[in-house]
């Protein structure tokens, strides 16, 4: 993905891979979270690996399979087999999704379907009263919603017009002027992910440079009082990766230098690991056992203390 020339497609429909309702974790109150497919980054530990690619994908959960064999019969590429094990050859698979149609259980699913803005609104409306009473609303997440900025803008505009609180979760990888024009006026709160200050590390673990990300953050932070949105940085703690003392201090220092006083820390939740298999990605990625376990409590305390030293308040998300 070209770094500086970030032109975004004007899509009538975006590819959405999930809408999670009644979430208490992606912002204040009770929220519906809309997950956009496609991301410019490629973080190794991504919680939603099914959101990385911009195209629909085949998702297969073996534990739901009843071995009826209908998918094998119907596959035009003979990509599915059941010799000793059940296997889907992703090289042969052409994503026609005939197997999904014929599967009687929900073992085979399509991740990523086109939805219009109105379709999303219609799905969210039944829960509207729950937003009101709890201070909740709608969160845009993913993947990276800002790959579909015009679409996201339309969605946010419509949500604001019916009085719903909006929150954007973003990697920060976008064109600032477009963002200011299309998103800022319609968003109440932004959760902005900061992973590494060191650019080399960022390229190594996340696939892209962080220059534009940190730059955008500085500009947004300056801009927030005039535009009236709440900007909250977030960092996911991956053991011995992002939570290394050097990185934490660098982040804390960065905040201090621009007068950011609060941050959210997210603890590693290894559920994402099992998704890789179901997507057909090769899972022999990281030898690191820690990345596959829940984040240890004692480390939480240590990181918290680092931030405290710089005068930064921490909330655990």
């Amino acid at each position: 993905m070209a770094e500086l020339n970030l032109k975004f497609k004007h899509l009538q429909e975006a590819l959405i891979f999930d809408i999670k309702h009644n979430s208490l974790e992606d912002g204040p109150g009770i929220r519906s979270v809309v997950f956009f497919k496609g991301c410019p980054l490629n973080c190794v530990w991504c919680q939603n690996p099914e959101g990385k690619k911009l195209t629909p994908e085949l998702y297969w959960e073996n534990e739901k399979c009843i071995s009826c064999g209908s998918c094998i019969e119907v596959c035009p590429e003979n990509a599915i087999s059941f010799d000793f094990q059940k296997f889907i050859d992703r090289e042969l698979c052409n994503n026609c999704f005939e197997c999904v149609d014929i599967c009687p259980s929900t073992a085979l699913k399509i991740i990523g379907s086109k939805m219009s803005v109105d379709e999303i609104i219609n799905e969210i409306i039944p829960y509207r009263n729950y937003f009101k009473n709890s201070g909740g609303g709608v969160t845009l997440s993913g993947g990276e919603a800002m790959l579909n900025m015009e679409y996201a803008s339309e969605l946010l505009t419509k949500l604001k017009s019916i009085g719903i609180h909006t929150l954007l979760e973003t990697s920060g990888y976008f064109n600032f002027e477009e963002f200011k024009r299309l998103i800022v006026p319609f968003v109440d709160e932004i959760y902005y992910d900061i992973k590494f200050i060191d650019n080399q590390k960022h390229k190594q673990w996340c696939g892209v440079s962080n220059t534009i990300i940190l730059d955008n953050f500085k500009r947004l932070h300056k801009h927030r009082s005039t535009a009236k949105f709440n900007l909250v940085p977030r960092t996911a703690l991956l053991p011995n990766i992002t939570d290394a003392e050097e990185n934490i201090r660098a982040i804390a220092n960065f905040y201090k230098s621009i007068c950011v006083t609060k941050t959210i820390l997210l603890l590693n939740n290894p559920d994402w690991f099992q998704k890789l298999d179901k997507l057909g990605y090769r899972s022999g990625i990281i030898g690191n056992e820690e990345i596959r376990s829940l984040y240890p409590l004692r480390k939480e305390v240590i990181v918290n203390n680092y931030f405290k030293e710089y005068g930064i308040d921490v909330d655990f998300g």
Binding site: H21, I30, I66, C68, S70, P104, N129, N133, S134
Partner: protein, 1009 residues
């Protein structure tokens, strides 16, 4: 009949290859020899009033086995190869195979066989109790051993099921209490509490209540015979059908006179250290009344073993046992509601359906469900004024013409009856006062002495005169409650709006006090209400073990209501509301059953927050009711909204207008899955193996879904025609045997008109039904509609065959219907449309049928434990539910409908309240991921409740406990003595519930917040 089973089992062990009838005859031979040969044992066949004779048939449907047992003039004998069609009672097995299964079944399996009507009892149920009792004289020690084996088996199963469950649930309650909230604002109606949540108190501040609660949890309740014996004494002396002088008794007068005698001669007791005088039974801590005219006889067969059984054991002393088995139960063998119903109507089809247990649980056979008799009337005006009103009416009556008097003799009898009942209450009060005085004189402890003197003073004044203080008001409520328990049946009686009743007296008292005494007074008020609560725990209904399955863990279900609006529609929350809530929080009891009315926008957020917090701390109470929806649902009948606004929940959750309304809310309790099953099987019911319904068509004949739905409706009409007919017949039996003169006196209009409540005297009349399996029925209809008619993916017969096979060998079909048909509760529109269609059909039927006393039927959807019991004995459903699995509780959606609680809430809220005027229960099991965020967690609950009500939801009740804690509790009950769980309506102690129910509660979706 499991005493017979155990004997059969014993005999069969001696010779494996015996033929069934040979085995039966040999067993009976052994029993006969043992009973007849022992002088003491054979005496048991002769009661105090003469020999207890009975003829019992035992057979299979095809008569390959048939024997008649004859107990006559103190001898037990039997006639081989003969089944007397005029037997008092007959034990029927489906087939020889079922007989053999029965012989080899353990007690759990035997109960299931009864519930599935593989084995059934036809005829006079109490006579089976008699035979069981006799057999148990021989076998009770083996029975007890059998219980121990069962207990062991369950223990092992529970430990295994718990495997690896965490145990931080053990400190859950304490943690939540320690972080309790302080009120942040004060309602307008709260004038005297500085901090309404009363967070400064814990139960340790009330040592009296601590002791009472300990006794409550640790004392085995006792079977008592006082009521039965005294009533029997009276009728033996004064006649039952005819009076001493030969004239026939007017039934209401007969009941009232017996009641008056009972109250006069009832032993007046004041429980040690109690603030309130009077007890329901001779056991002040906990006793069962065993009303012989309803279902007291149901423990006859278990008298020798009831103290040792696993579920709901009761202690029985020798004198009580003899009194019941030789005197009371034999006398009443044909004088109880169920038998009178059968006798008077020639054992109608509806009685046969009810006996088979798979379809009806007509509650009118058990209890009058008197609802909320209007105790506040006695508190406000006193019995004296009611007696005056009656006397005036009688006087006017006597001045009328002879013809008029002759034509209206029922009125006179009703007035005389109500007067006698009230006089009985005054006599009992007098006797209690005497005891209070005597005990005060003897008492050496000065504090206690002064308390007893206060009790004496109180009883000098109430309940004859209007109450003037809080203490007098509470004592009045308690004494009148005792009366209702003994006047009819002590089950599902609601005290009423306790906060509204007591507030004026609280205010009158506290106004008189100087400021520095008020805190002490408030503490005393808390203690007094707490004592009242712990009086309500002093009675339980002892029932046959099979009933312990159907209402597992249910106490007497005395409901207490707080909150809501006044008759004028204003905020009714007052000081007493919070005092009652505080008591409920501290005591965390299964009874009284706490209910809270909530009028969104009128009652404060502080109030609903406190109610939500109570649910959080106690993990299961109070249940919360949407005031607006319920008031609307009752007003549709043209009732005065000012009266309707005084509604309370009774008998679980059903709405009753306190003091004015006889609602008999359990009259049509039934299994809604039955008519659907019979529509699929063309009038045949496969689990009951009974072809008794109309022929509504073979499956191939249905060309559209609507055609099939029509067949469902026809079966529904057939079944409920039986039910409503039964209800009318049972009403007649109630008029004869349980006309409740005292409760009638307390219901508005009965005294005015001279008409008892069972004859329609109350100002408002209705009857109710609660239908089990609504969710499963909806899901089944959705599958049939989509898969068979819309998509034509499978034929209807294919589906039926799959159901017959319990889906074994039909994996693809089963997976498809489970995964690809959105259920009710998933948020999909189809479910909402279907539930509206079905609930409207049911409501239309119910609202158009007369209940025999000036009202119609109200439908509702709460299930007690019937959802597991009916589920156990039902085959597979079209929804994909497997045979034997529970239906959902109340109308809660299937746990697999959605993992998002909002979908459940929205779909349930979409149901039209006008179709549910008997209310419903919507059970939600919730657990919180951040166990330490007390304020946040409570706020979440409040959000959900408020929004759900705004969207139209009628009722919600929570179990705020995670699966691990429940599993830990099953495996280590001693760690969770007072963990309460909302079943479907009532609240029970989780660790005392029958295993199926415990598992079902764990199986409910745990919504993690």
């Amino acid at each position: 009949m499991d005493k017979l089973k155990n004997s059969l089992q014993k005999h069969s062990q001696n010779n494996e290859s015996k033929k069934a009838s040979q085995l039966l005859n040999d067993t009976l031979d052994g029993i006969a020899t043992a009973l007849n040969g022992d002088e003491n044992l054979s005496k048991e066949m002769t009661g105090d009033l003469g020999p207890i004779n009975a003829i019992i048939g035992i057979k299979t449907d095809d008569e390959s086995i048939k024997t008649t047992v004859v107990i006559k003039d103190g001898k037990f004998s039997f006639i081989k190869d003969f089944c007397d069609i005029d037997a008092d009672a007959t034990l029927v097995f489906d087939s020889t195979e079922e007989f053999n299964n029965y012989v080899n079944a353990d007690s759990d399996e035997a109960i299931r066989m009864f519930l599935a009507s593989r084995v059934r009892l036809e005829g006079n149920q109490s006579i089976f109790g008699y035979v069981n009792y006799l057999i148990s004289l021989l076998s009770w020690q083996d029975d007890v051993k059998g219980f121990d084996v069962q207990k062991d088996v369950h223990k092992k199963q529970n430990l295994a099921a718990a495997g690896g469950a965490t145990n931080d649930g053990r400190s859950m309650k304490d943690n939540r209490i320690n972080t309790r909230l302080k009120a942040e604002s004060i309602d307008e109606g709260v004038k005297w509490l500085d901090e309404p949540y009363l967070s400064e108190y814990t139960i340790e501040d009330f040592p009296r209540l601590v002791k009472f609660k300990e006794d409550h949890l640790n004392t085995m309740p006792e079977v008592t015979a006082e009521q039965g014996k005294l009533l029997t004494d009276y009728y033996v002396e004064n006649g039952f059908e005819k009076q001493k002088d030969g004239t026939p008794w007017d039934p209401m007068l007969r009941t009232a006179k017996g009641f008056e005698y009972l109250m006069n001669n009832k032993v007046p007791l004041i429980r040690e250290n109690d603030l309130l005088a009077g007890t329901i039974t001779t056991n002040p801590i906990c006793g069962s009344v065993n009303q012989p005219y309803t279902v007291g006889w149901s423990i006859w067969g278990e008298l020798n073993t009831i103290a040792y059984r696993e579920l709901d054991p009761f202690y029985v002393n020798e004198e009580t046992k003899n009194s019941l088995s030789r005197y009371v139960f034999p006398y009443w063998r044909d004088k109880y509601i169920q038998q009178k119903w059968k006798d008077d109507n020639d054992y109608p089809l509806s009685a046969k359906i009810n006996d088979r247990m798979f379809c009806f649980g007509l509650w009118g056979l058990v209890s009058l469900n008197p609802g909320s008799p209007g105790y506040d009337k006695v508190v406000k005006f006193g019995i004296g004024s009611m007696r005056e009103e009656i006397d005036t009416n009688l006087h006017e009556f006597s001045n009328k013409s002879d013809e008029y008097q002759k034509a209206n003799i029922d009125k006179k009898n009703s007035w005389v009856a109500m007067a006698a009942a009230l006089d009985g209450m005054l006599a009992y009060t007098k006797n209690l006062a005497k005891v209070a005085k005597e005990e005060a004189e003897k008492e050496s402890n000065p504090t206690r002495k002064s308390e007893l003197e206060d009790i004496y003073k109180t009883l000098q004044h109430v309940p004859e005169k209007p109450a003037q203080t809080l203490r007098e008001a509470v004592q009045t409520l308690w004494i009148m409650f005792i009366g209702s328990c003994l006047d009819a049946m002590d089950e599902s009686i609601t005290i009423g709006r306790l906060d509204q009743i007591l507030q004026p007296y609280f205010e009158a008292d506290i106004k008189k006090l100087p400021e520095n005494e008020r805190e002490e007074y408030i503490k005393g008020a808390i203690e007094l209400v707490g004592s009242l609560f712990l009086r309500f725990t002093s009675h339980l209904v002892a029932a046959a073990t099979v009933a312990s399955w159907q209402n597992s863990g249910a106490p007497g279900v005395t409901s207490v209501m707080v909150g809501g609006v006044t008759a004028d529609g204003k905020d009714a929350v007052v000081d007493m509301t919070y005092i009652v809530l505080k008591v409920a929080e501290m005591l965390s009891l299964n009874d009284p059953d706490m209910d809270a009315r909530y009028m969104v926008g009128v009652n404060s957020t502080a109030y609903i927050t406190r109610v939500a917090e109570l649910n959080y701390i106690t993990s299961g109470t109070p249940s919360v009711h949407n005031d607006e929806a319920i008031i609307d649902s009752l007003c549709q009948h043209g009732w005065d909204v000012k009266d309707v606004r005084e509604w309370v929940a009774c008998g679980c959750v059903e709405p009753i207008i306190t003091g004015k309304h006889f609602g008999a809310t359990g009259d049509l309790d039934s299994n809604l899955m039955v008519p659907l099953t019979m529509a699929i099987y063309n009038g045949y019911h496969p689990s009951a193996k009974w072809d008794f319904g109309p022929k509504t068509g073979k499956l191939v004949s249905f060309k559209t879904f609507d055609e099939f739905y029509e067949a469902f409706e026809k079966q529904f009409n057939f079944i409920y025609k039986q039910a409503t007919e039964a209800s009318l017949q049972i009403l007649k039996a109630q008029q004869n045997l349980m006309p409740a003169p005292l409760s009638s006196a307390l219901l508005e209009n009965c005294i005015k008109e001279g008409v008892g409540m069972t004859h329609g005297g109350a100002k408002y009349n209705s009857s109710g039904g609660a239908f089990t399996a609504l969710s499963d029925v909806i899901d089944s209809l959705l599958v049939i509609k989509q898969v068979i008619f819309d998509e034509k993916k499978y034929s209807f017969d294919e589906l039926r065959i799959a159901m017959d096979d319990d889906f074994v060998g039909h994996k693809a079909l089963h997976t498809y219907i489970e995964n690809k048909v959105p259920k009710f509760g998933s948020g999909d529109e189809g479910g909402r449309v279907m539930v509206d269609r079905v609930t409207t059909m049911i409501a239309d039927y119910m609202h158009s049928h007369d209940n025999g006393r000036g009202g119609v039927y109200f439908p509702g959807y709460r299930t007690n434990n019937n959802h597991t019991v009916y589920g156990r004995v039902s085959g597979a459903s079209a929804s994909g539910r497997l045979a034997g699995k529970p239906f959902t509780s109340g109308l809660t959606p299937n746990p697999a409908a959605s993992n998002n609680i909002l979908d459940n809430l929205n779909d349930v809220a979409s149901i039209n309240p006008l179709n549910c005027d008997n209310n419903y229960t919507f059970n939600v099991r919730v657990s919180f991921s951040d166990k330490d965020a007390h304020r946040q967690n409570v706020d979440h609950l409040v959000n959900y409740i408020q929004t759900y009500f705004i969207n139209g939801g009628m009722q919600i009740q929570c179990n705020i406990v995670d699966s691990d804690t429940l599993k830990d509790a099953m495996a280590h009950p001693e760690m969770y003595p007072d963990l309460i769980a909302r079943v479907s309506g009532y609240t029970g102690y989780y660790t005392r519930m029958q295993q199926d129910l415990q598992l079902e509660i764990i199986g409910r979706t745990e919504f993690k917040i």
